[in-house]
């Protein structure tokens, strides 16, 4: 048992959580219980982010998906449905969906497994001891300054700088979308 085995074990647990939670979502009879399975699935995905070295995203996943979206879903269920479940939660498309989705997962799996992804020999990113040179700093104005210590990819500060420079348009568009959604949700829900 080495460090690799431990990491792979963690991955296995998290993958099982996310996939098992997802199965629970589509199998549960009661909407409320399937929302609870959904939360388990979200937590599993957050764990996958941690194994990928994206700690910030893992935290955001828990904050937004578990703390906000799931709670919103639970809230909507409580406000609308009676607490007992539905004996027939599915429509008549189960057979059709299975016929369609079996080839889909097969193709996705085959593609993911066989495609020749240009994986970098390690995808292990240098962690420290480097500093940014002038050319790089010039290429990313504002994001990095000459002489900056190397910023590890998990760095929140680095993600923030990139969001505010390279991906500024996306950032602004998302802000506007969020504002519109906020106003829209209030207008719609206020009969």
């Amino acid at each position: 048992m080495s460090q690799q085995t431990v990491v792979q074990l963690v991955f296995g647990v998290m993958a099982a959580l996310s996939l098992g939670g997802a199965m629970g979502v589509v199998m549960a009879r009661t909407v409320f219980v399937s929302a609870l399975w959904l939360i388990l699935s979200f937590v599993g995905v957050a764990g996958l982010y941690i194994t990928l070295g994206a700690g910030f995203l893992a935290v955001i996943q828990v904050l937004v998906y578990v703390g906000a979206i799931s709670v919103l879903i639970l809230f909507a269920i409580m406000l609308t449905e009676d607490v007992m479940g539905d004996e027939h939660p599915n429509n008549g498309q189960v057979g059709l969906a299975i016929i369609l989705l079996t080839p889909l997962i097969f193709l996705l799996g085959k593609w993911g497994f066989t495609a020749n992804w240009p994986v970098k020999a390690a995808a292990i990113l240098p962690r420290s001891g480097l500093s940014v040179d002038a050319a790089t700093a010039a290429a990313l104005p504002g994001a990095l300054k000459t002489g900056d210590a190397f910023l590890v990819p998990d760095s929140v500060a680095y993600l923030g700088r990139v969001l505010m420079t390279e991906h500024f348009l996306a950032f602004e568009v998302v802000s506007v979308v969020l504002l519109v959604a906020l106003v829209g949700a209030i207008v719609i829900a206020r009969d």
Binding site: N90, N91, V119, A122, L163, H167
Partner: protein, 120 residues
Amino acid sequence: MAMIPLWWYLMVAAGLFTIGLYGALVRKNAVSVLMGIELMLNAVNVNAVAFWRYVSPTAKAAAGADRPVGDFVVGMDGQVFAVVVIALAAAEAAVGLAMVIALYRSRRSFNLPQMDQLQG
């Protein structure tokens, strides 16, 4: 050497996506359909972050056409994608659930097969 092969993540994401799509296709309940869609978005995010971790550094380092990026500056595109998707999922959930509540007020149900007023 990477401790976990990239395709493991791709498999998990493929599974999540398929299960989510199944849920969105077969459920009668509008909220359940929304949950299926959230699962699909999560699958996309797992893919984006996995590709960021495994592929993006190479792509940046090898590129160098428009920018002389050195070996050590890592693109954050995958993470930015994931952040944007999460924000949009939140917006989608807020508007979707507001619609569900509004529909429930007028219809006393949120089963999608009954929402067929526009059908000719």
